[in-house]
């Protein structure tokens, strides 16, 4: 979409740091999250989950549970639609979601939902689960990605592979990606040094502190209400409707405040179950997941196994690069192998590049997005090899990256030419930063990495209603996962010319606004922001029209300035500026309520790059790593609210630190998750981290009126590699498996000593 009027400077409100509108609610405990809602007559739901990693479900006897006093409904797969009302019949994603939400013929992972009950108290519901008799035929299981591809591996599901998968691969390989250009063999031949290595990363969880929770109410008239913590309530609406055989518009979904999502709340797990129970019991049903359910049965990341080969000349030019990326995404297609493959070499302008990705199924929960899905793992592998090449050739890591950096017009590793991008700016800022120029202390290692993410547009609808007192209400459809309500109000203030404090932004429910895609892909400030600006411009046009009517002059003789309608020139007439509040005060009498709106699928989301600098120390005796210093440099296009942009940078870095050093899914030989709690799934604590410094680079995105690029995801792309490079330097041994937990580092140090 062509943007006719963009603004890159002279902002009055954008770029300032006002207080967020949900601040008081959140510091007083008043804000309502998923589990904070109740309804009269409400029942409590609980879900029975498979204790086996892979098993055929031979029978489910719910009679004893149904007979327990207080139990009002029990559901199994039979209570869901056999013919989702949208999508190609039972195939495709709706079927995958249904199969994940409630098992069909097989339990596919430890924690897979098998049945559910609704009862008058949470304790009775829990007790009732123990009375459900499930007969399983336990099958062989596989949880490792390479083992799942190997001959003889247990088959998760026959016939799930799409037509792009090469012939002869195991049925667990369901999707395939292959892209690149040039001649990598010729390129490797030209290099002075070629390094080839393999890397592995284990699955991690987004780790949001708020478990999934919902309250659903569905009548036998097919009309329902759903309250849930989600990143996308229109998606929840359409998926629940499909799984329950409802018409989409008859289900109204309201998004609660969300206690973290990071991609893990972009789909449904318990919501269709709550609605199915509600329909059967004819009462509202509330379901709240326990922490162990969250780990076992929501959407962790894929785990990966990767091979990288890069060739470099003595002067630092990369002559060729190739990568093979194997990802398992649980018992369903969807591991983001194509993103891993496409992001891997994106920061570099290469003549010869080739990347292959495999999406593999295994007996694990269905993966979901985690910030930039697939990209962090690719960066870990690629940037580690670049680091090794720099060390062997005696070259500075930032200079080498600058030498090979992608810029506007570069043919990306995944095909198209880049438009305006800010990679070079982030590298230059990192190079000039005081952190990079501070000498390391004895025993410390420093790591650098670049990172890349696509960012997203998506369906967006915004409505901006003016109140009679001259204040404004914005309705957006994107749940606020990063402080976006404040950013929307800032952008609207800029267009309307009234103070930020006079604008309230709310997240509307599915019944009161047009379709909005999920808050993901770093799209909210970009897409809802663009829509807010356009909706505000629409309101401003209407306000000008009212002024023109009042003054008896043509519409195009009126313009908007500093919150007032003014004649556009001396010829238009001599009228005093007419403030917004004066126009709205009697709008009912001059043509009716004034509302601006905008609906579209904006397609100008700009890609974004980041460079991170990390200093680390490793205790050679215990293998414990201390992150001594961390600096994030990232291109935000235009920072609408700089404090919230900094917050995203810091949050992504912190998650990357956890992923690099401690977090992993640990499966036993029985295929069961061993560490389904925050004690043993160890995320960073306040005592683990230093202050995280941030530098906001702004290279305007031509696809947004103010130049905004999404920032939420790119911040997690560099940390795994930057930390691996720092730790490998501090430990004196290259680490090729994540997490680099203390036992792994101790083992690596010992192996280096012995061999």
């Amino acid at each position: 979409m062509a943007l006719d009027d963009t603004k890159t400077k002279d902002f009055k409100f954008v770029g300032t740091r006002p207080e967020r509108p949900d601040g008081v609610d959140k510091v007083t405990g008043r804000a309502k999250f998923g589990a904070d809602m109740t309804a009269p007559g409400m029942l409590h739901g609980a879900i029975l989950r498979s204790p086996h990693a892979h098993a055929r479900i031979l029978s489910i006897d719910t009679s004893k549970a149904e007979a327990l006093k207080g139990v009002k409904a029990v559901v199994t797969r039979a209570d869901f639609s056999t013919n989702p009302t949208f999508g190609p019949g039972l195939t495709g994603e709706p079927w995958n979601v249904l199969e994940n939400v409630m098992a069909g013929e097989k339990a596919l992972y430890d924690g897979h939902a098998v049945a559910a009950v609704a009862a008058t108290s949470a304790l009775i519901a829990r007790d009732a689960l123990k009375l459900i008799d499930v007969t399983y035929e336990v099958l062989d299981h596989v949880t490792d990605v390479d083992k799942a591809m190997a001959e003889g591996a247990p088959v998760i599901r026959e016939g799930a592979a799409d037509k792009s998968v090469p012939a002869g691969m195991h049925p667990n390989v369901v999707r395939y990606h292959d892209s690149g250009h040039g001649d990598v063999e010729a390129g490797f031949a030209e290099a002075d040094l070629v390094l080839e290595n393999s890397f592995k990363t284990e699955a991690t969880h987004q780790g949001y502190i708020e478990p999934h929770a919902c309250l659903g109410s569905l009548g036998n008239d097919g009309k329902g209400e759903l309250w849930c913590t989600t990143q996308g309530h229109w998606y929840a609406q359409k998926m629940c409707a499909a799984l329950l055989g409802l018409e989409t518009s008859q289900l109204r979904v309201t998004a609660s405040e969300i206690g973290g999502g990071f991609g893990g709340k972009t789909t449904v797990f318990i919501e269709p179950v709550a609605l199915a129970l509600s329909r059967k019991a004819n009462k509202p049903v509330k379901i709240v997941m326990s922490r162990s359910e969250v780990f076992r049965a929501t959407g962790p990341t894929a785990s990966t196994s990767m091979d990288i080969k890069i060739g470099m000349k003595k002067d630092g030019t990369i002559t060729a690069a190739s990568g093979v990326f194997r990802l398992q995404g649980g018992a369903f297609p969807g591991a983001p192998c194509e993103f891993t493959a496409m992001c891997a070499f994106a920061p570099y302008a290469l003549e010869n590049v080739h990347q292959i990705g495999y999406d593999v199924m295994s007996n694990r929960p269905k993966q979901a997005a985690y910030r930039a899905p697939g990209s962090p793992m690719a960066a870990f592998a690629v940037e580690s090899v670049i680091d090794d090449l720099c060390k062997e050739l005696g070259l500075d890591p930032i200079d080498v990256r600058l030498k090979n950096a992608s810029h506007k017009g570069t043919k990306a590793s995944f095909g198209p030419r880049f438009d305006d991008i800010g990679l070079v700016e982030t590298l230059e800022a990192a190079k000039a930063h005081e952190h990079y120029n501070t000498p390391l202390k004895e025993g410390q290692g420093r790591g650098i990495s670049c990172g890349f993410w696509f960012n997203h547009g998506g369906e967006t609808a915004v409505s901006l209603a003016l109140s009679e007192d001259g204040t404004a209400q914005i309705s957006v459809g994107t749940p606020d996962i990063g402080g976006s309500r404040a950013s929307m109000a800032l952008m609207a203030a800029e267009e309307l010319g009234i103070p930020y404090e006079h604008i309230r932004c709310t997240v509307a429910d599915t019944a009161t606004l047009g379709y909005n895609e999920i808050s993901h892909g770093s799209r909210v400030t970009y897409a809802s922001g663009l829509a807010t600006i356009k909706a505000a411009k629409d309101a401003v046009n209407k306000l000008c029209k009212r002024a023109a009517q009042k003054w008896g002059i043509p519409e195009d003789a009126v313009k908007w300035e500093d919150g007032c309608a003014v004649p556009s020139g001396a010829n238009a007439g001599d009228f005093d500026p007419l403030p917004l509040a004066k126009i709205t005060a009697n709008m009912g009498a001059t043509g009716g309520p004034i509302v601006g709106h905008f609906e579209a699928t904006p397609e100008g989301a700009g890609v974004s790059f980041a460079t991170h600098i990390v200093d680390a120390e490793v205790d050679h005796e215990t293998g414990k790593t201390k992150i001594v210093r961390y600096t994030v440099v990232q291109d935000a296009g235009k920072a609408i609210h700089p404090t919230y942009v900094e917050g995203q940078f810091q949050g992504g870095a912190a998650q990357g630190i956890g992923w690099a050093l401690n977090e992993e899914y640990i499966y036993g030989d029985d295929g069961r998750l061993q560490n389904a709690g925050f004690l043993d799934y160890r995320i960073p604590l306040a005592s683990d981290l230093p202050m995280i410094d941030t530098v906001i680079v702004e290279v305007a995105n031509p696809g947004h009126p103010y130049g905004v690029r999404g920032v939420g995801e790119t911040s997690i792309c560099p940390p795994l590699a930057a930390i691996a490079n720092a730790v490998s330097a501090a430990a004196g041994v290259r680490m090729r498996e994540l997490p680099m937990s203390p036992p792994r580092i101790v083992a690596a140090l010992k192996a280096a000593q012995d061999g």
Binding site: G92, D162, K163, S164, A412, F414, G521, T601, G604
Partner: protein, 81 residues
């Protein structure tokens, strides 16, 4: 005619080519044209594709215009977190 670059994993479905020409004035025309020429592409396209037009990645909008000069790449559909 518009030249459409395909990711190499699709080559086996289009007689080994890495680019295909179709008659099209919008992104929607491109996708319809591809399936008409090579019905085997219907599966991957239905599964979800984005189309990069002169470097701009179009995730949804089938009405986006294209010309014979446009640089067009078919990519797998983008999702975020």
């Amino acid at each position: 005619m518009v030249k459409v670059h395909l990711w190499s994993g699709l080559r086996s479905l289009v007689d080994g080519q890495d680019a295909v020409e179709v008659q099209a004035s919008t992104v929607g025309d491109i996708l319809r044209g591809l399936v008409k020429l090579y019905p085997g592409l219907e599966g991957p396209i239905e599964a979800g594709v984005s189309v990069a037009v002169d470097g701009k990645i179009i995730a949804n909008d089938l009405t986006t215009p294209v010309t014979t000069e446009s640089e067009i790449y078919l990519m797998q559909k983008l999702r975020g977190g």
